[in-house]
Amino acid sequence: MKMFILVSMLILGLTGCASQPETSSSLIDREELKVDPEVIYTMDVKELFEKRLEQPGGERLLQVQFAVEARSDTELAWKVTWFDESGMVVRGVGEGYKKATLLTGQTRYFSSTAPNARVTSYQLHLREPK
């Protein structure tokens, strides 16, 4: 009987050790749209859409599109960072910002497609290039 209890406790102890470490975190609420203050003075973000493109295997590829309207001639740098279900970054082709020039009153539309169907969320960052 003692032996049985000892073995049971040992198994329970080992099961406890084998549990998966906590991988999710809710420390930070990640904003989908992050606009630097310098950009707000010169342009407005008018639209932000997301779409899921159907893939043959039943997966869906995330695509985002945003529109900005310039109040004066200005330059913009933007980048989309992609995240999987666990909140980990999914790497695309490059890490650099894309640059665009806007004329006064002009509305421009930009879009970006996720690098992999694992992507479930994103963060769009708009900033003013130096």
Binding site: L53, Q55, P56, G57, L61, Q63, A77, R91, G92, V93, G94, E95, G96, Y97, K98, S111, S112, T113, A114, P115, N116, A117, P129, K130
Partner: protein, 200 residues
């Protein structure tokens, strides 16, 4: 003699102080000056545009499921610069591999295989020195479904007192079974700068 040595020493110290220190550039946060020649940012832009458009268009979605096999064909450098076109194609290959939709073969190429070891490893067949259970069998290589080809074009213009350099990065993805280009893209990169700048 001592005065001359002292003057040379002072000059060297002053020159060393004036020189720009060498530093690392982080590609994720590089707002540095733009060169008239093609730099890594231009290749990154062209590769990003190409891959995102390929994925969004569905051209690299294999209807039978699984991954397409791509081979890199000729990318012609029609610029005044010495460009290794792998700077462009490698980014595209890596991104397509990460997408899970396309894998590139290194066993076939216009000028022979990119990795000659695929063939070399097969020369071990019937060698008494090697355990034959680990030697690659016949008929295991995968033939490509798609071919990536393209051209980089450069045009120079004089605009008033400035110079305008236009680069066009043109790419085609050909379905080898039909010979049809199932995806095509062009990324123009236009730069305007001092007429004294050199773009070659």
């Amino acid at each position: 003699m001592l005065i001359r040595a002292f003057a040379v020493l002072i000059s060297l110290v002053v020159l060393a102080g004036c020189s720009t220190p060498t530093r690392y550039i982080d590609p994720a946060a590089d707002d540095g000056p733009v060169a008239m020649t093609m730099d890594y940012r231009d290749f990154e832009k062209a590769a990003t545009d190409a891959v995102e458009d390929m994925l969004a268009s569905g051209a690299v979605n294999n209807p039978d499921g699984g991954r397409y096999i791509m081979v890199v064909s000729r990318i012609t450098n029609d610029t005044m610069q010495r460009i290794d076109t792998d700077q462009l194609t490698k980014k595209i290959r890596v991104a397509l591999l990460r997408s899970g939709k396309v894998v590139t073969t290194t066993a076939v190429g216009l000028n022979g295989p990119e990795d000659a070891m695929t063939e070399k490893a097969r020369e071990l067949r019937d060698s008494d020195e090697f355990d034959q259970s680990g030697v690659q069998r016949k008929g295991t290589l995968q033939a490509p479904d798609l071919s990536l080809s393209g051209k980089i074009i450069q045009r120079n213009h004089k605009v008033e007192k400035e110079q305008q350099v236009e680069y066009y990065i043109q790419l085609s993805l050909t379905e080898l079974s039909s010979g049809l280009a199932i995806w095509e893209g062009e990324t123009p990169i236009i730069k305007r700068g001092s007429d004294k700048s050199v773009s070659w």
